[in-house]
Symmetry: C2
Subunit: 376 residues, 2 copies
């Protein structure tokens, strides 16, 4: 319980995102020691004001609020946390779960697509989900259109998980309030954001990466070029998930993105059999990586090696703090490149980047790259 409170305080601390959370634990071993080290780290990174961190009372209040709803909080590195999701470099440090926590450990497939889907597209999503649900948990994002159809179809024959962008207690979109409740009663609704969070645009890509991380494969039905579903597909591909796409007429712009996925190697999918025949037992460690769209992301960001404090004497750190910042600009740069050009060990670079991140001066991007934060 104490551990839960500490974890939650660290997770909700300003400038501590999922990657930073993992780095802090890798460096300091326990949540408690990470919390104690935080003020010094942020100061060393050049931050003047103290980092905003919730008090123990704040954290206790959030846990009590979740209990009252009947929701569980599942932490990374605990047995209930879904194992495939844990393999993502930026896996959520904690997930609020309303419904059956055990469902997160089942074999699952995602079905996502256009909010403004065609009647045929929604029929396809519903049928496909109903055909797959006896064997697989169906994961989607509770959005209008394809997502809602997939959840509905899944509940006809099996169970479904809705990953939502806001807080676990916030129904969104409003017209899906009843659907959200039904899913929580028969399956599970999960959320990364704190209680009461109203979903904003920036929350949706985070929601999408959870879908990508949970599933063995992702089916895309009706996705226009540059749509959110395509971004989910890109994330899923980066995580080595199997990609499936339902073909559609070139005359319908809602099918351009999904057709393009097929062109890039996603399995052309007409029925449940197409999915079942191509679903692996485990995610692959390499996605399609055939297309510029996919290559751009830079592939898997390997988790950083644990930092041996012994390597980091005060002189080395001082040297690294002086040398590194000039190499980081608004254009993303590879972390390896910084180490090479500064002639520093990767442990020293990681330690200083952690400080700069906590100071809010630098952000980490996919492909093990960093960039100066515009707002620093």
């Amino acid at each position: 319980m104490d551990d839960s409170i500490d974890r939650l305080r660290l997770i909700r601390t300003e400038s501590v995102g999922p990657l930073t959370y993992r780095r802090l634990l890798a460096r300091f071993g326990t949540v408690r020691r990470a919390i104690e080290a935080l003020p010094d780290l942020a100061r060393a990174g050049g931050r003047a004001a103290a980092l905003a961190m919730p008090s123990r009372a704040d954290a206790e209040r959030e846990l009590a609020g979740l209990r009252k709803l009947g929701a569980a909080l599942v932490f990374l590195d605990t047995p209930d946390y879904p194992s495939f999701l844990a393999e993502m470099a930026d896996a959520p440090p904690a997930l609020a779960v309303l419904g059956d926590v055990k469902l997160l450990a089942t074999r699952s497939v995602g079905i996502v697509g256009a909010r403004n889907a065609s009647a045929n597209g929604m029929r396809l999503a519903q049928n496909l989900a109903a055909e797959l649900a006896p064997q697989l948990t169906i994961v989607s994002g509770l959005a209008r259109g394809i997502d809602a159809a997939a959840h509905t179809g899944a509940m006809q024959t099996g169970r479904t998980i809705a990953v939502i962008a806001g807080g676990i207690d916030v129904p969104y979109p409003p017209e899906h309030e009843k659907l959200q409740r039904q899913i929580a009663e028969t399956g599970a609704v999960i959320a990364e954001a704190p209680l009461g969070t109203a979903p904003l645009a920036r929350h949706f890509p985070k929601r999408n990466r959870i879908i990508a991380g949970l599933v063995l494969g992702l089916v895309v039905i009706e996705a226009a070029s540059r749509s959110g579903s395509l971004l989910t597909a890109r994330l899923a591909n980066e995580e080595g998930r199997e990609l499936f796409a339902v073909p559609g007429s070139p005359l319908d712009p809602r099918c351009h993105g999904s057709n393009d996925l097929i062109r890039q190697g996603a399995h052309l999918t007409e029925t449940a059999a197409d999915v079942l025949a191509n679903l692996p037992d485990h995610p692959a460690r390499q996605g399609l990586a055939r297309d510029p769209l996919f290559r751009r992301a830079g592939g898997f960001a390997e988790p950083p090696a644990p930092i041996l404090e012994a390597e980091l004497d005060a002189a080395t750190l001082r040297d690294a703090r002086r040398k590194i910042p000039p190499f980081i600009g608004p254009d993303p740069v590879q972390v390896d490149e910084i180490a090479r050009r500064c002639q520093l060990s990767s442990a020293a670079v990681a330690a200083v980047l952690l400080e700069l991140e906590l100071a809010g001066r630098v952000e980490t991007l996919p492909g093990n790259r960093v960039a100066l934060l515009a707002t620093a």
Copy 2:
């Protein structure tokens, strides 16, 4: 001229199909010597009655009929004959051409699909043909639906070839009489069947193989499972032509076959750019060959090696004529297998099979196989 008459007589002789025609020329060197040898060969194969062969007057009458229409007769192994088509083992020994013979030598792409096409499918075919025609000759089969739309689109911006199943003077289907005339005036109409031939079911697969042989690539738009367009695609694949298919909704049965082609490796095609980016300079010598559908056909039938008469002394032939027939039944058998099991040279086997073919007792099938003819 004399040579044309001899060629036409041999081509129109009973039991002389395209493969037999090529074997006769390979064995005897000239058409004249092949004609002289025919009666003995058929007799040796076990045929009692004489082979029906048109007289010189019959052949002259056919040539005069073509001249009157303004049509040319283009023979295999002459400069006007399209070179890619000539590479097919069973290339037509002669093609009647109404229109511009030179068009047969241009780079071309086929567009085929459902007769009962959707309005969207026909719009796609017409647009695609119009986009491609400035750079490529568009080849199709003058059928209702996709074929007609492709020809029509092609004539908006370029030129088109219609390959028809009946005689060059027979409009089919009747409602395309005007379209057929327009194509002949601006492009070319070609036919393998003799003048006056009304197209029957068995003529359409032969027409399809000519389309497959003429083109660098074939685009399939709306093809149901087990449709004629899929058979054309299979033939095109066997000839190493590039395959393209336009995707469509899994809810439309007219798209199942074309979607399946994509699943098997055909290029997913939405616009002309998809075709142009994947069209080779020359046909490949190997098709997709990934799927049972395609594998079943047994790949390329290599043209038989020329027979050295020296190898075929009378004793060897007598021996081969006695040994081979028991090995051929209604189930197709590999020619190589016959040679191995009878312990005969492939030249001896080829010589005897030619006799059996001319006697109407055996037919040659794709994949260098032969079978007993049911009607023998």
